[in-house]
C-alpha cells in the first residue's frame, strides 16, 4: 500500500533522486563512533538538532493552552501544569530541553573549535553557527518571561537592564524590546511571545537550512 502510494507519486514527479540526495549518503568511517569511539564528538550537532525539534514540537503543543496576557499567562501555565493530563511532562520537556539545547550547542561548538574545522573553506558555516547560537540564546531569554511568575519577571528586568547598557542606543533598544520605556508589562509579554514563537523560530529555520546546505556542499571535514 505505502509502496504503491510512493510509486504513484514517484511516477509523476520523480522524487527518488531528491530524497537520495538528502538522506542516502555514506557516513565516513572517521565520524562513526562504531569504528572509533572518540568519534562520538561528531554527534553533538545532530543531538542539538534533535533537541531543537523537541523544543519546537513541545512549544507548539504548549501554545494550545498558553495565553500571552498578563492577567492570564500565569494562570494558563498553572492550569496546563496541574489540570491537563501530561501537561506537566510537556512543559517539563520544553523547560529542561531549553537548557539541554544550549549545552548541546556548546559541545558542538567546542568540537568544531578544537578540531579547527572552522578554517577555510568552512568559515561561512562557522558564522552561520554563531548566528544560530545567538538565536538560541534569544529563544531562551524570551521564553523565560512567558510563565509570568516572579522569577520570569525579574530575569527579564535584569536582561532588559543589560540591553540598556549598550552605548548610544541602549535606551531605545530596551524600549524596543519591552514595548514601553518604563513598564515591563502587557506589551512586553506580547512582544516576547511573538519573538519567541514566530520571529526567532523563523530565523532559526532559515539559518539551520543554510547550515545543512553548506554541510552537504562542503562535506564533513576529513580525519585529523
Amino acid at each position: 500500500m505505502l509502496q504503491k502510494i510512493y510509486d504513484w507519486i514517484d511516477d509523476r514527479i520523480d522524487i527518488t533522486p531528491i530524497w537520495r540526495d538528502i538522506a542516502d549518503h555514506e557516513v565516513p568511517e572517521h565520524v562513526n563512533p562504531a569504528h572509533h569511539f572518540s568519534a562520538f564528538v561528531y554527534c553533538f550537532g545532530g543531538l542539538t538538532f534533535f533537541v531543537v525539534v523537541i523544543q519546537i514540537l513541545s512549544g507548539m503543543f504548549l501554545t494550545m493552552y498558553y495565553v500571552p496576557d498578563i492577567e492570564n499567562a500565569w494562570k494558563s501555565v498553572y492550569y496546563l501544569q496541574t489540570e491537563v493530563a501530561h501537561g506537566q511532562i510537556v512543559r517539563g520537556m520544553h523547560h529542561w530541553g531549553a537548557s539541554v539545547t544550549v549545552v548541546m550547542l556548546l559541545l558542538h561548538t567546542l568540537r568544531v573549535f578544537f578540531q579547527g574545522v572552522y578554517k577555510k573553506p568552512r568559515e561561512l558555516n562557522w558564522m552561520v553557527g554563531v548566528l544560530i547560537f545567538f538565536i538560541i540564546l534569544g529563544l531562551g531569554f524570551t521564553g523565560y518571561l512567558l510563565p509570568w511568575d516572579n522569577k520570569a519577571f525579574f530575569a527579564t528586568q535584569v536582561g532588559l537592564d543589560i540591553a540598556q547598557q549598550v552605548p548610544f542606543i541602549g535606551e531605545q533598544l530596551k524600549t524596543l524590546l519591552a514595548g514601553d520605556p518604563e513598564i515591563i508589562g502587557a506589551q512586553t509579554l506580547t512582544r516576547f511571545f511573538a519573538i519567541h514563537v514566530f520571529f526567532l523560530p523563523g530565523a532559526l529555520f532559515a539559518l539551520l537550512a543554510a547550515h545543512f546546505i553548506l554541510i552537504r556542499k562542503q562535506g564533513i571535514s576529513g580525519p585529523l
Binding site: L57, S58, N72, K75, A85, H86, G87, V90
Partner: protein
C-alpha cells in the same frame, strides 16, 4: 557468515532494530504531547446544580417568556459569570416547560414569535428554522429535532433550571 540460508540479513537486522528503537523514542516523545492535546476531549464535564432563575411559578403563564439567569462558568483557567436563557411557559396540563433557545439546526438563537410571519411559533432568523409551541420542529424547515428542554424543579414556589437535554427525534 555460515553457508546456510540467512533468515535475516545483517542489514535487515540493523534496519529493524534502528527503526524499532527510533520509533520507540519518537513515540515516547510524542505520546505526552498528543495526550495533552486531546485532553479536552477526554475530560469529564462536571455536573452543575440546578440554579434558581428568580422566577416565581405563579408568574409563569401559557405564553412562553424569556428567562435569563447567571451561572458561574469555569473555562480552563478562566472563571466568569455567564448568562443562560430559557423560554418558559405552562402547557394546558399546567406543566412547566423550559426550552433551550439554541437552534437544533446550527445553533443560532431561537425566539418565541421571532418572526411576524409565523405567530405562535419559535423562529430562528439564521435559516428560517421554526418550531411549534411544544418545541417540535416544523417539518420542511432546517432543524431536524425538537428544541432541547432544561432539567427543572420547583422549590418554595421558585423555578430552578439545570442542563438542557435533548428530546427524542421528531
Amino acid at each position: 557468515m555460515s553457508e546456510k540460508k540467512q533468515q535475516v540479513s545483517r542489514r535487515q537486522f540493523l534496519n529493524y532494530t534502528l527503526t524499532g528503537v527510533g520509533g520507540f523514542m519518537a513515540a515516547g516523545m510524542l505520546a505526552p504531547m498528543l495526550r495533552m492535546a486531546v485532553d479536552p476531549v477526554l475530560k469529564t464535564s462536571s455536573h452543575g446544580d440546578l440554579a434558581n432563575v428568580s422566577l416565581s411559578v405563579d408568574d409563569i403563564t401559557d405564553e412562553p417568556q424569556r428567562v435569563d439567569w447567571k451561572i458561574d462558568q469555569v473555562d480552563g483557567w478562566y472563571e466568569s459569570e455567564v448568562t443562560k436563557t430559557a423560554w418558559v411557559y405552562k402547557d394546558e396540563n399546567d406543566e412547566i416547560l423550559a426550552f433551550s433557545p439554541i437552534c437544533k439546526h446550527l445553533g443560532c438563537f431561537v425566539s418565541w414569535e421571532g418572526s411576524e410571519d409565523f405567530p405562535d411559533e419559535f423562529y430562528c432568523p439564521c435559516h428560517g428554522g421554526r418550531y411549534y409551541k411544544d418545541g417540535t420542529n416544523v417539518p420542511g424547515t432546517p432543524p431536524l429535532a425538537p428544541l432541547d428542554q432544561f432539567e427543572q424543579k420547583v422549590e418554595d414556589g421558585m423555578l430552578f433550571l439545570g442542563e438542557a437535554k435533548e428530546q427524542g427525534e421528531a
